[in-house]
C-alpha cells in the first residue's frame, strides 16, 4: 500500500532476539514446567496456523493440477512436479513483471532514503520558523487513508501525463511522510551536543548530515530500506490504478491477471505465487532485525 500508513506515538525499539543486555531481572520470566508445556503447545498451534497457508502454497506449487483438490486432502505432493517452475516462465510474462518490479522497488527505495533522511535531519536537528507545524502536517497525513485522496491524486497525475508510466509509481511513493517520520524518530535519539560540537568546529549543516548523522543512522536506513522495498514490491493498488499497459505490470498485477486467465491451472498459479513471495521472504529473513526495529521505532507502515 502506498501512503496509507498511520501513526501517532513512537514506541521504543525491540528486537526479535532479545539483546544480551536485556537478560537482567526484566527478562527472568521463567515458567514452571507445566506452564512451559502449555505455552509451547499454544505456540506450535499458532505457528502452524500462521504458516499453513504458505506451506500449502509451496506444496501445491509442486503438485499436479488434479491433486490439489484431492479427497482426502494431501498436504504433500506425491511426486514433486518441478516442471511447474520451468513452465511458469513459458506461459506467463513473469520475467517482464519481475524486471518492472525490481526497477520500481529499487528506484523508490533509493529516492525515499535520500529525501526522507534529508528532510528528517531538517526536522530533527535544524530550526526554522514553522518547523513543528509542518512536521505535524506530515504526521497528520499519515493518518489519512490513501484511498481517501487517490482520486484527486489520479486526476493530477493524468494532467501531468504520468499515468501509464513507471514514473507515476515512483512519484507516488518516493516522498513518503512515513519515511521522514521514521528517520526523524531515529535522529531524535542522537544527542544534539554532537551536532553542536561539529558546528562549533565549523562544519556546515550539510557536512554534519553527511559526515556525522548519516554514518550513525545505518540501522534506521536499513529499516527504511527494507520496509520501503517490501512495500513497493507488494503494492497492488498503486500499480492497478496507474500501470494499465501490460508491459509495465508489476509481479502483483501480473499474478492477478494470470489467475484470471489460467483460473483452472491451480498448480501453476501457486507456482507464480511462490515466485512472487520468494524474494520478499529472502529479504525478510536476511534483514528481519531491521524490520522489527523499523516497525517498533515508527509503529506503522501498513
Amino acid at each position: 500500500m502506498t501512503a496509507s500508513h498511520t501513526t501517532l506515538a513512537p514506541v521504543p525499539p525491540t528486537s526479535v532476539e532479545p539483546p544480551p543486555a536485556a537478560t537482567g531481572p526484566r527478562r527472568a520470566k521463567r515458567l514452571p514446567v507445566a506452564g512451559k508445556v502449555v505455552g509451547y503447545t499454544v505456540l506450535v498451534v499458532a505457528a502452524a496456523a500462521l504458516l499453513l497457508p504458505f506451506f500449502w502454497m509451496l506444496s501445491s506449487s509442486l503438485k499436479t493440477n488434479s491433486s490439489i483438490f484431492a479427497v482426502p486432502v494431501s498436504w504433500l505432493p506425491d511426486v514433486p512436479q518441478w516442471r511447474n517452475y520451468a513452465e511458469i516462465w513459458r506461459v506467463s510474462d513473469m520475467l517482464v513483471w519481475l524486471k518492472n518490479t525490481i526497477f520500481l522497488s529499487a528506484v523508490v527505495t533509493v529516492l525515499q532514503l535520500f529525501t526522507g533522511s534529508f528532510a528528517a535531519y531538517g526536522f530533527a536537528k535544524t530550526r526554522f520558523p514553522g518547523r513543528n507545524l509542518l512536521f505535524l502536517v506530515y504526521i497528520g497525513t499519515i493518518a489519512v487513508p490513501w484511498q481517501a485522496y487517490m482520486i484527486p491524486q489520479f486526476i493530477m497525475m493524468s494532467e501531468i501525463g504520468l499515468t501509464n508510466t513507471p514514473w507515476s509509481i515512483v512519484a507516488l511513493q518516493a516522498f513518503s511522510a512515513f519515511g521522514v517520520f521514521l528517520m526523524r524518530q531515529y535522529y531524535a535519539t542522537i544527542p544534539d551536543e554532537l551536532c553542536e560540537a561539529a558546528r562549533v568546529d565549523g562544519l556546515s549543516e550539510y557536512g554534519i548530515y553527511f559526515r556525522i548523522i548519516l554514518p550513525l543512522s545505518v540501522p534506521a536506513l536499513a529499516s527504511l530500506t527494507l520496509l520501503t522495498f517490501v512495500t513497493t514490491w507488494n503494492d497492488y493498488l498503486g500499480p492497478l490504478i496507474y500501470l494499465r499497459d501490460p508491459d509495465l505490470w508489476t509481479i502483483q498485477l501480473g499474478l492477478k491477471s494470470f489467475v484470471s486467465e489460467y483460473n483452472a491451472e491451480h498448480a501453476l498459479i501457486m507456482t507464480g505465487s511462490v515466485l512472487s513471495v520468494a524474494p520478499v521472504a529472502v529479504v525478510f529473513l536476511l534483514g528481519q532485525r531491521y524490520f522489527v526495529q523499523g516497525i517498533a521505532t515508527s509503529g506503522m507502515k501498513g
Partner: protein, 308 residues
C-alpha cells in the same frame, strides 16, 4: 563575527549580522526539508485539500468540473450501494478490530518470555504481514474452496456436516475475508505490543506478586495500565486500517458475491477510477476521511480523559 557592544555605534550592524546568521540557519533547515516537501506537498497535501473541492462538483473524465454544491452528498444518502459499502466497512471493522487486538496481544504476552525458539515464533507471526496480498489471497481462496478445499475437508473431518461456502456464499464471504485480514495483521500488532511490554517495569510485577496477585490480577492491574500508550496507538491504527480495507477484498472476492463484501474504499475505486465519476467518488472519499478523523478524535479524547 562582529562583537556586540550594547548601545554602541555598531549595535545595528551586530543586530543585522545576528539576524542574517539566524536567517541563514533557517534557510539551511528549509533546504533539508524542501526536496521531500516538494513531492509531498504536490502529491499528498495537494490532493487531500483538492478532495474537498472536487466533492462539490460534477466531474466526469472528459467534461469540465461543474460546481453542484451538496448534490453528491444528498445523492449518497439515497444510494443503496453506498449504504451497503458503509455497513460492510463497519461489519468488517466490528470483527476485525477486537479479534486482531485480542489475538495479537495474546501472542505478544506468550512470546514475551524466555522460551526456546521464541525468535522463530516471532518471525513466523510477522511473516504474513510482509508478504503480498495477492499471493496470500490466492492461497487462501484455494484453501477456502467450497467442495474440496482443505479447510472444509478439515471441518468435515471434525463432523461439520454442512461446511460454509466461504467466498462463494454471500453470508460467509465477509467472515472469510476477516479471517484472512486478522491472520495477516496480527503479527504486526504483536510486534507493537511486544515493544510496549518492554516498557513495563518488572519491579511492579514483582511487587504485585509479593502482594499475592495472581496472573490475571497482575495482567489487569500492572500490565494493562503500563501498556496504555501502546493499546491506544494500536486501537487507533487498527481502526483506520479497518476503515480503509481494500486490496485484500479486491483480490479475494472483488466485493462479491453480490455486494456482500463491498467496502467504502472499493466503492471509491469503482466510482472514481472505473466509472470516472470523480466528483461522486470524492464525496465518498470525504465520508471515509471524516469517518477516520471523527473516530480518531474520539479515541484521542477518551485517551486523554483516562490519562488525566
Amino acid at each position: 563575527m562582529s562583537t556586540t557592544t550594547v548601545g554602541g555605534p555598531r549595535a545595528g550592524g551586530a543586530d543585522r549580522a545576528r539576524r542574517w546568521h539566524r536567517a541563514r540557519r533557517s534557510l539551511h533547515g528549509v533546504s533539508f526539508v524542501l526536496p521531500n516537501f516538494l513531492g509531498f506537498g504536490l502529491l499528498t497535501l495537494g490532493p487531500v485539500v483538492a478532495l474537498f473541492a472536487i466533492s462539490f462538483t460534477n466531474w466526469n473524465v472528459f467534461g469540465k468540473a461543474k460546481w453542484v454544491g451538496l448534490d453528491n452528498f444528498t445523492r449518497l444518502l439515497k444510494d443503496t450501494s453506498f449504504h451497503r459499502a458503509l455497513l460492510n466497512t463497519l461489519y468488517y471493522s466490528a470483527l476485525h478490530i477486537p479479534l486482531t487486538f485480542a489475538l495479537s496481544l495474546g501472542l505478544a504476552l506468550l512470546l514475551d518470555r524466555k522460551l526456546r525458539g521464541v525468535a522463530f515464533f516471532r518471525t513466523a507471526a510477522f511473516f504474513p504481514y510482509v508478504t503480498s496480498i495477492v499471493a496470500i489471497a490466492i492461497a487462501w481462496n484455494l484453501l477456502f474452496s467450497k467442495d474440496f478445499g482443505p479447510i472444509n475437508q478439515v471441518l468435515g473431518f471434525f463432523g461439520v456436516a454442512d461446511p460454509p461456502g466461504w467466498t462463494a456464499s454471500s453470508s460467509w464471504s465477509m467472515p472469510a475475508v476477516i479471517i484472512v485480514g486478522v491472520w495477516r495483521e496480527m503479527g504486526y500488532y504483536m510486534l507493537l505490543f511486544l515493544a510496549g511490554l518492554q516498557t513495563v517495569p518488572p519491579e511492579l510485577h514483582e511487587a504485585a506478586r509479593i502482594d499475592g496477585a495472581n496472573a490475571w490480577q497482575r495482567f489487569r492491574n500492572v500490565t494493562l495500565p503500563c501498556l496504555r500508550p501502546t493499546t491506544f496507538f494500536v486501537t487507533v491504527m487498527l481502526t483506520i486500517g479497518s476503515f480503509k480495507v481494500f486490496d485484500l477484498i479486491l483480490v479475494m472476492t472483488d466485493g462479491g458475491p453480490g455486494q456482500s463484501t463491498l467496502v467504502l474504499s472499493q466503492y471509491i475505486y469503482q466510482k472514481g477510477l472505473v466509472e470516472n465519476r470523480f466528483g461522486y467518488a470524492s464525496a465518498i472519499s470525504v465520508v471515509l476521511f471524516a469517518l477516520c478523523m471523527v473516530v480518531t478524535a474520539v479515541q484521542f479524547a477518551v485517551n486523554r480523559r483516562r490519562n488525566g
